[in-house]
């Protein structure tokens, strides 16, 4: 058990300094109980990074120090003749007090260290340094394992300088890491620091970094696949319902409209769940009456103004989409139309884009065969709708992808940070329109078109 070849790290410290938050963020695991009540973590818990069942490294979340002074006193009473025997004294302490409930927490936190784990000592640098911490640090020094300290800024004050001066006496490395705000890049940087603790661990940690980078990329691609799938479904969706008379009544039409919208909203919700699942962020709480996608309805004007394109950009997009159709005619005549068709197409497309937000979809009465009259709604005709849908999805994916697993608060979106136009420039919109225009006509798309569409969306995501 002690001779495992992979590196192990015990995240230790005073109670309530964010140890579990750090572990939760690094292990991408929301199941870690995080609380402001001291003693939330009662037993050590290992979080191995496994690739196909093989452990690359393992993190241990541990309870905080409770009776540090008493332990240090015991260790000092048993001071060995040589400093390199101090680890044995710590082991002796664990062995002698294993059944003593008074030292349960300390045994839980010291055990992985004496079994070879590196030490990650966590302090809250938003609060002042206190000499009482020296007792804990001294105990850790007795363990003789490679160690580093993490400055976690939980509150709004900043005492990092005084902490750094103190921690520098005990730890090889001192790094700042805020598990709540940490980005993926910060996560990787912290791992790189951990790799420096012990030469023997460098290879494994580098492998872990590669693995996590691959995992991150995989998740981005899975999110994009999901966005493409759900967007295509929404844009091509046609709702049909049987009607009694030759012409649909107002009531039938309203009912069909409601069903159509409901399906599109359901599809968006489904996509959100899918993205949450990809990033292992299930059970996110959403604040009611705040700015969330739920509250900015998919069909609301607010959604169009935040996530959609402006009237001007829409006109340009419409013109380019129309021009694409016109260009087909020109090419068929070998340019013999002097590219007039493109110009006319562009003008018509631009006009189409100006249609108000209420003209979302086309309602048709179909199936004139005896006894089989159907009212059909869709596919979506509004030129802005695909951009609203895509922007909302990409925005949501971005928020979820960058959300730390240490966050237990509800999800709230920030309106001012995002505008559809910023991520879909004219060049990208032109490419997207190839698919959108086909879907608007109820035509099928080819795998090649979808591949290009996916690439554009991936590019757009990376721009956010």
């Amino acid at each position: 058990m002690n001779n495992t070849s992979y590196p192990k790290f015990a995240v230790v410290g005073h109670p309530n300094k964010g140890k579990s938050s750090i572990v939760s963020a690094l292990a991408l695991d929301k199941s870690v109980q995080i609380g402001d009540t001291p003693g939330t973590t009662q037993v050590k818990r290992g979080f191995p990074l496994k690739v196909d069942g093989k452990i690359v490294y393992e993190l241990f979340d541990t309870p905080g120090f409770q009776r540090a002074r008493q332990i240090l006193a015991w260790l000092q009473e048993h001071e060995p003749s040589s400093i390199n025997k101090r680890t044995d004294v710590v082991k002796a302490f664990i062995s002698e007090h294993r059944d003593n409930p008074r030292f349960k927490d300390e045994i839980e936190l010291l055990e992985p260290i004496v079994n070879g784990a590196g030490i990650i000592y966590v302090v809250d640098a938003s609060k002042p340094y206190g000499s009482e911490y020296e007792v804990e640090m001294e105990i850790l020094r007795w363990c003789g394992q490679p160690s580093m300290a993490i400055l976690n800024l939980i509150g709004d004050e900043d005492y990092r300088d005084e902490w750094k001066r103190a921690l520098g006496h005990y730890f090889r490395l001192v790094r700042s890491f805020n598990p709540i705000k940490a980005t993926f890049r910060n996560h990787i940087e912290l791992l790189e620091s951990m790799a420096q603790l012990n030469e023997e661990w460098t290879k494994s940690i580098k492998q872990a970094i590669d693995v996590l980078e691959n995992l991150h990329q995989q998740k981005i691609e899975q999110s994009i696949d999901s966005i493409v799938k759900h967007t295509i479904h929404s844009l091509s969706y046609v709702y049909t319902q049987k009607i009694k008379s030759k012409k649909a009544t107002k009531k039938e039409e309203e009912k069909a409209k409601l069903r159509y919208r409901t399906e599109l909203i359901r599809n968006e919700k489904h996509l959100e769940r899918s993205i949450e699942s990809i990033w292992r962020h299930l059970d996110i709480k959403k604040v009611e009456h705040s700015l969330s996608l739920d509250n900015i309805g998919l069909f609301s004007k607010q959604s169009a103004s935040i996530f959609g394109l402006s009237q001007k950009e829409l006109t340009i997009t419409g013109a380019s989409a129309g021009a694409i159709g016109g260009l087909g005619i020109d090419l068929a005549f070998g340019g013999g139309t002097l590219f007039l068709a493109s110009l006319i197409g562009g003008a018509v497309g631009g006009m189409g884009a100006m249609i108000g937000f209420d003209n979302l979809y086309e309602i048709k009465v179909m199936g004139q065969t005896i006894g089989k009259r159907e009212l059909s709604i869709g596919p979506m005709k509004n030129l802005n709708f695909p951009y609203i849908l895509l922007s909302r999805s990409l925005y949501y994916a971005y928020i979820i992808a960058n959300r730390s697993h240490a966050i237990r608060d509800s999800l709230e979106l920030k309106q001012e940070e995002f505008f559809g136009e910023q991520i879909f420039d004219v060049h990208r919109r032109k490419k997207l329109e190839k698919v959108h225009s086909r879907l608007r006509k109820g035509e099928k798309t080819t795998p090649l078109m979808l591949e290009e569409y996916r690439e554009v969306i991936l590019e757009s995501f990376n721009l956010i």
Partner: protein, 471 residues
């Protein structure tokens, strides 16, 4: 046994479509499966078939493939038998010899050579075209209409509650493949009828055409038709003499004397007709059937890999499964929010002793001035003190004791141990815990911090200890 399961077929296509509706496996399960089947990792279809074989038991209802294959088997048996009977009857019709006029081999050749070649060309067009154009060619096949008719017979009802998940394209290929099979059976029926008629009756063959074809030209055409077997069975190519003597005209009402004179030689045509049937109607059709069968197989493979959910499983086979989570769920701490009130307002400023937990004497004195507290004795406890030093201080205490604590630091068991020592000291009347915020916040506390301290103090269940609310 393994190879049997790894053959891609309509059955496997239907099975995977049905299985993926209810079960797709987790990434961990799928990756683990792929790693166990290392030798199949470069053959995704075979790996997928193996996965299907391993998980097929998860379908607890009747397999769609079973129902479909039962239907296909009934359908094919009936149409196969029907094709054979029709082929046999057509053969009988073509070869029926009344004794008055000879059997015109041109009719026969039309059926065994021209019609198969034409139908194969139409099938080829149908194969290479898509959508409505392909549908048009399909309409040209009688089988299409027979199939439509058979939709109304009883065994088709077996599939009434099951939607075949084939794409239109795959359905077209299935249709073309079956069409070739039934055409082959039809030709076999035709061939059998030829043999039966040749053996059982004496048929006089002749040839007659409205077109003015000379026996020489006709002989050249026949030699071209029989070029494939001319060297192997030369007797199966009619001689110019036979062609010449077999020529007859309807207008003559009676056969010419040459024909009657050489009646025994006219039967020699059967070898040519038999070889034409074998080569064009059966051989060529057999090759075409095998060709469409192979193309159908490729189409099934393509569609098999395109079934909704298959791509995800294939990706999971190839992508390493990365896990970062703890294998065991955490034992959650039950946090009791409702507690007995342990907070008192600040009443008096005078205390017998003022203690500062984890504060230095200087810090205590500074805080004392800020909080306007007076005390006879002041001690620093916790921090760099030893446990024994604190115990000695606890023993000397008496009267009312004020205890500064850092409100942002949660109470540790070390602190509780110290507090218990004070509680045990009977000379101490009351301990008032005075939480202080950071200097940066002018010693102000947050209500959450006070709450945490209050909750911890409550666990001591002592009437001596109280927390002062100085928010």
């Amino acid at each position: 046994m393994q190879n049997k399961n790894l053959n891609l077929s309509i059955k496997s296509y239907l099975d995977i479509s049905q299985l993926l509706q209810t079960y797709r496996g987790s990434h961990e399960e799928n990756r683990s499966f792929a790693l166990k089947e290392e030798r199949l990792q470069k053959a995704p279809t075979k790996l997928l078939l193996k996965w299907l074989d391993a998980n097929i038991y998860k379908i607890t209802t009747k397999l769609d493939s079973k129902r479909y294959l039962e239907y296909l088997s009934s359908f094919s048996s009936i149409l196969g038998l029907l094709s054979f009977i029709i082929g046999f009857l057509v053969g009988l019709g073509l070869l029926s010899y009344s004794g008055e006029a000879p059997v015109n081999i041109i009719y026969y050749l039309l059926i065994v050579m021209v019609v198969p070649i034409l139908s194969m060309i139409v099938a080829l067009f149908s194969m290479v075209t898509h959508g409505r154009v392909a549908d048009f060619f399909t309409l040209l096949f009688p089988l299409h209409w027979i199939e439509k008719f058979l939709n109304y017979v009883s065994f088709r009802k077996k599939l009434s509650d099951f939607k075949v998940p084939f794409s239109l394209e795959l359905s077209k290929w299935l249709f073309i493949e079956r069409l070739q099979l039934f055409s082959l059976i039809f030709s076999i029926g035709l061939f059998v009828s030829l043999i039966v008629m040749v053996v059982a009756t004496d048929i006089a063959f002749g040839w007659s055409s409205t077109l003015q074809i000379s026996p020489n030209s006709f002989h050249t055409i026949l030699s071209a038709i029989g070029i494939a077997w001319a060297k192997i069975i030369p007797s199966a190519i009619p001689s110019l003499e036979l062609v010449d003597m077999s020529h007859y005209f309807r207008l003559g009402a009676k056969l010419n004397s040459s024909m009657i004179h050489n009646a025994d030689k006219l039967g020699a045509w059967w070898k040519f007709l038999a070889m034409s049937t074998l080569f064009y109607a059966i051989g060529l059709r057999l090759c075409f059937w095998l060709f469409t069968k192979e193309l159908l197989h490729k189409k099934i493979e393509k569609e098999f890999l395109g079934v909704e959910g298959v791509n995800k499983i294939l990706q999971e086979f190839n992508r390493p499964f990365i896990s970062t989570q703890a294998p065991q769920p955490e034992k959650h701490l039950d946090i009791v929010e409702s507690i007995k009130e342990k907070i008192i307002p600040k009443e008096k400023d005078k205390y017998t002793t003022l203690l500062g937990w984890n504060y230095s004497i200087d810090e205590i004195k500074l805080s004392k001035d800020t909080t306007s507290i007076t005390a006879i004795d002041i001690f620093a406890v916790g921090g760099s003190n030893s446990f024994n030093q604190d115990r000695d201080i606890a023993k000397t205490l008496r009267g009312r004791v004020a205890l500064y604590i850092k409100s942002w630091e949660p109470p540790t068991m070390d602190f509780i141990d110290f507090l218990e020592m004070i509680i045990e000291n009977r000379k101490v009347e009351k301990v008032e815990i005075y939480p202080l915020g950071t200097v940066g916040k002018y010693y102000k506390n947050s209500s959450r911090d006070i709450f945490i301290w209050e909750r911890k103090i409550e666990t001591l269940q002592s009437d001596k200890v109280w927390v002062i609310n100085n928010e």
